[in-house]
Symmetry: C4
């Protein structure tokens, strides 16, 4: 506790780690065990849950990779000010919200309401992508970011984020299943190391 | 583990971070996905949930900013004694309680029981504001607080807290919606940096 | 990560902090919001929940103070071996179990099944008290405890634990309400600083 | 935050600790309190829950010991690269998934669907065992592991894991109860210190 500034960064990360870890683990509570009295048998009951499994994997991958990016940012962000903490809370709000649209899209993956559920799901990620970009650009602007070759790579890698997730909102008009699969693929894009975006 | 005192402070913060992070993330579990068999369609079902969204944002903002203030206090509190730990547990009790009044007010935002639900919601925050003040004044009294220009600012900023939340209890007699909107605005007040309250 | 032993202790504490924080925060999920369609009105509905509030406070106080004691032990335990970690897992098992007997006793506080629910509740704490004593005595035996005046005090303070919680099991035959109130009082006993038990 | 690499390892462990702690504590939410209106009395209701208790203990022991092994690995893994973090996310996915098969097997421990539930439960552990082995072998291959006598022991101890859990999948065809008991015994095997597997 000798250096308040270091301690501050550490607790912001610890609190954020907690929120990410809980949001990612609460996803499982939305998958309900088929009751033992179901006349179709358990195998059918388990098969019918496939939208839930797919939504679980897509959201787990996305939140997990968002944690990874949060971690990358805060390795480079060496100074905290009150606005970075405020941005961080604004980022954690939609992260902890994700179990809701995940369950929503799993429940409504088929049928007439699939488009609405898909728009809510993709729109939540779009909102997160915006906040990530705003927080990062703010940190760069106030020179809270350590000089590191990755910093430039991150800026370029993230720049595509809002566009990608806006396209995902559009994909909801095709199919909820497509939204989930594309989300999982997007997670791979953001898991790639920022050094790939460094200038040659 | 060389210095037991430092370690003690660190674990108090780690445990508190956990409780704050879980309480803030459990809020989402209270928002139930509209079932796919609803005859009104999903759009109507999602619109009818607006009290839940509003309560979610108001409680998230308030608990998030309370975490921020907890973090500010424990950056300045450099010595722990048994009573500070006891105060801290007394503070975490109503924090972890908040998912209940949040769901209560969302469920009863309209109709005859809105006042009762609003009083319980605002009263919970009032109780937290009292404990925050008592804990901080105790820490000052036993000289557990590092000499820092912010300490005085915090004392002034917090002094208004119990009055503000008492007024919020009164606002419950007007409307539950007003309680939620004012709560979110209060969160901005407590998010402001304590240095603004320093004497000129 | 230079010293594996220190790191080991830190992660045991971090994981334990997580389990304590989650168990204490999950308690609130067992209190269900009275539905808005109830004909008695919300005030009656909220009053009828008093067994849940009492059980919430009693369990929160007990788990909170058990966390405090866990924290005191691991401030003094400076060496970890595999058996201390095994004891620790054996301790966390009934800690994370507590939301169940808490909800059980709240649901059955009145009526013919109150005794059974009270025995399960008190018996869970009795089991935890036994493990706390075994873990502490083992740590003393293998000389994993730092030389500190508190160590002797803890041994004496804890010695009464199993007796106290065995008596609590007996109290279940009187009344579930008595079990909850006595549990909260016991929490105060174990919150007292171990130095009070030092020899004169 | 002076050394980004150290910080990176610390946050990977903190996030993982969170996921393990939450997954292990969420298990209790799957055990439902018998309602007070049940005509059989609470004692019968509590007795009928024994599959839930057994599943709770088996899953708690397994996840707890998997945490312990995760902790052992990351004490030895001194360098992180992006693929180790990716492996780690792939490991946390089935860990946070475990509350579902635990509740599934408890609900279907008897009757015709016991085999299916047992296969899902044992199969989840089998998948985890594979990932543990792949992550460890990858870390060895890229020389991210500190030179330590335990490293060789871990390799040998883990080598049996996939075989053991494949056998557990087979045991599901005998009985779900056998699956749960054997799981708990397997946990003891993996709790044993790796030094027992060192070459003489």
């Amino acid at each position: 506790m000798s250096d308040p500034a270091t301690n501050e960064t550490a607790r912001v990360e610890a609190f954020s780690d907690g929120v990410f870890a809980i949001a990612i683990t609460l996803l499982i509570l939305e998958i309900k065990v088929p009751p033992s009295a179901a006349h179709d048998g358990l195998l059918v009951g388990l098969k019918n849950l496939w939208p839930s499994y797919l939504a679980y994997v897509a959201s787990f991958a996305t939140i997990g990779v968002m944690w990874l990016n949060h971690h990358r940012l805060f390795t480079l962000i060496v100074k905290n000010d009150d606005r970075i903490i405020a941005f961080n809370l604004l980022l954690l709000l939609p992260i902890s919200w994700m179990p809701f649209p995940t369950a929503l899209l799993a429940e409504h993956l088929h049928g007439p309401d699939s488009v609405i559920a898909g728009v809510v799901y993709a729109g939540s990620f779009f909102f997160i992508a915006i906040i990530f970009n705003l927080m990062w650009r703010y940190a760069l602007k106030v020179q809270a970011v350590a000089a590191h070759a990755d910093a430039q790579g991150i800026t370029r890698q993230y720049a595509l984020g809002p566009v990608m997730y806006a396209a995902l909102v559009g994909a909801a008009f095709i199919s909820g299943t497509v939204v989930l699969i594309v989300s999982a693929l997007y997670a791979i894009y953001f898991a790639l190391p920022p050094r790939l975006w460094r200038k040659a």
